[in-house]
Amino acid sequence: MMKNINVKGLMATVVGATMLVAASNANAADSTAMHPERNEYTSAGIFGKWDIPSLQRGFQVYQEVCAACHSMDLVAFRTLSDIGYNEDEIKAIAIEYEYETIDGDGEETFRPGIPADYFPAPFANEAAARSANNGALPPDFSTLVKAREHLGFFSSTYGEDYIVALMTGYEEDVPASAPEGFELPEGSYYNHYFEGNAIAMAPPLFDEMVEYADGTPATMHQMAYDVANFMAWASDPTMQERKQMGLKVMLFMFFFVILLYFTNKRVWAKVKKGEDIDPSKI
């Protein structure tokens, strides 16, 4: 009888889960954006690790291209040690930036950056950013990959994939596949992956735009991939530590649960079968 009930419970759960699965694919219906392709990342999966060379290249793209418009307020230079830079290298990176300060005489002056500083924003405030960008606000990079990640049971959009797709998804002219009645507003560009398809950001990456320090050919797709990797790290810098601890926790728990299972079985051995029951007394 008990088995019977558990099977029904299981069935109900499966039916319910299936419906939730359908729910997680929700945004498809009224979206005009294409679903980004899945790329390969060393950071994916339960053993995921950062792809250090790619992160460093992505950092270079960020510095040389993206940082002209996009801030990254929550990332400090000191944390670049995560992506393989040593103390001296970090000092050298930080010193390239200038920060406004007030000196001992009360005069406004500039000081060089130190590892404890955060990446400076390219614009003084939102109004300045908008006025320089045709009214649009370039989003901050600190959590952007996470903010674009839609996880579901069957179909997910990963933040990195979205970034790569967006960087490489521009069309010079409005294509035939555009939504019916689509008109590109003045100062906007057509992008397959952007919701609404009209994006204020001009195509940001071109082949050979940067010269990679490690000699990797800087194709548009390569740069998009690298900067997406870098942004993924900026959004979730503890990913690697998290997954590594997760593995230890899981291994320990699986072993421990087996012990608990047999302990429980042993404790219940007699009682389960009712061997303690005196049939004349019930």
Binding site: A147, L151, V249, L260, T263, K281, I282
Partner: protein, 420 residues
């Protein structure tokens, strides 16, 4: 076999303390070898202790988070990021707390449905049941306010939508007028709102602890129900909680922790909304405002009704109706094992509840099938939700032919053993 053991310490120091404050004896006789529970509890009975575990986890992680969190509209979002980036193991504590809320609700939903199925709300456990509903309501309030604290887009807009619901009561003289402004502490969701939500989010869990103590107290008067739903009377019907159920709960807890850890370490954002990684912006409304998954069925009920006031009332009624269950269900048999028809409608109720949750996540005018949209389905679904309580339960429980029930728990154990 049940034991009537009392806590009798042999250690003189423990005895000295126990004679003056018999606290260890209290624990011994409520969660130890001094408490006797029916011998036939199955794994559905693990979820009570799991809920207690989750409450403790949430309080402990919450207290640590508060040491680093800043309840200010300009700093809350960044302070959560600071916890995840700079605080030692802050990412772990934050992920446990954020996912812990969902785990708490999963466990509690199963615990509640266990109560439905095995008739745990029926005499003499009505007050135990009421306290459980109060715990659930407090959890809903606490969870909602906690979700606002990171001050992301969904935090802000969720707060705005849910608090605005109280605007439906604006016809009430004297209080109705400004009730939403009163909740906000201003003319918009802002600093006072965040601060009071923070204050209450810290307070309510301790209120919860109080009600949980009452819940456990009320449990110990009649004792646990059991899958057969018959009273445990004979000497062989019960066994001491410790070591039997402590061992069983420990095993269940281990399995649950693996499930929980899977979310925390591998998919910490699966149950959250990506928009909450965007700082709250009162000027930009997200395309779809959805509450956390555990409120979705009630959100679907709210939206299905065109009249705002009736919608809000229906949403609250959908939970408050649980208070009437001991009387809506007129069956003299507790467990649905012996009530096949009730069992059938119960499982439809479960699936229907999940379906309502699915509908709550969709946009109201999404077309699901042929020309029927989410609102149409929500209306059918909510009709069954209330129909289950108001029509099915009173009628079926009083009219159905039940199966024969065993004479005692011990007899049922021997019977099952004979069959192998």
């Amino acid at each position: 076999m049940a034991s009537d053991k009392k806590f009798e310490p042999t250690n003189p120091t423990v005895k000295w303390v126990e004679d003056r404050l018999p606290m260890m004896g209290l624990i011994y006789s409520s969660l130890g070898a001094g408490y006797n529970a029916p011998r036939n509890l199955n794994y559905w009975w693990n979820f009570g202790s799991l809920a207690l575990f989750m409450l403790v986890v949430q309080i402990v992680t919450g207290i640590i988070l508060v040491m680093h969190y800043v309840p200010h509209v300009d700093m809350a979002f960044d302070s959560v990021q600071h916890i995840r980036r700079d605080v030692n193991y802050g990412w772990l504590v934050q992920a446990v707390h954020a996912n812990g809320a969902s785990m708490f609700f999963i466990v509690v939903y199963i615990h509640i449905l266990r109560g439905f199925y095995f008739g745990s709300y029926k005499a003499p456990r009505e007050i135990l049941w009421f306290l459980g509903i109060i715990i659930y309501l407090l959890m809903m309030a606490t969870g909602f306010m906690g979700y606002v604290l990171p001050w992301g887009q969904m935090s802000f807009w969720g707060a705005k939508v849910i608090t605005s619901l109280f605007g439906a009561f604006d016809f009430v003289p004297f209080i109705g007028d400004g009730i939403v402004e009163w909740l906000w502490g201003g003319f918009a969701v802002g600093q006072p709102t965040l601060n009071r939500f923070f204050s209450l989010h810290y307070l309510l869990p301790f209120v919860l602890v109080g009600v949980v103590i009452l819940h456990v107290w009320a449990l110990h008067i009649p004792g646990s129900t059991n899958p057969l739903g018959i009273d445990a009377k004979g000497p062989y019907d019960k066994i001491p909680f410790h070591p039997y159920y402590t061992a069983k709960d420990a095993f269940g807890l281990g399995v649950f922790i693996i499930f929980f850890a899977g979310f925390v370490f591998y998919i910490p954002d699966f149950l959250g909304h990506p928009d909450n990684y965007i700082k709250a912006n009162p000027l930009v409304t997200p395309a779809h405002i959805v509450p956390e998954w555990y409120y979705l069925p009630f959100y679907a009920i709210l939206r299905a009704i065109p009249n705002e006031l009736i919608g809000v009332v229906a949403m609250f009624a959908s939970i408050l109706i649980l208070f009437a269950m001991p009387w809506l269900d007129g069956s003299r048999i507790r467990s649905m094992r012996f009530r096949p028809l009730s069992q059938f409608f119960f499982w439809i109720f479960v699936v229907n509840g999940l379906f309502l949750g699915f509908l709550g996540q969709k946009a109201p005018d999404d077309i699901l099938l042929a020309s029927f949209d989410v609102t149409d389905f929500s209306r059918v679904s909510l009709t069954y939700y209330f129909g289950y309580f108001l029509v099915v339960m009173p009628l079926v429980s009083r009219m159905e032919t039940t199966k024969p029930i065993p004479t005692s728990i011990a007899a049922a154990v021997l019977e099952a053993n004979k069959k192998g």
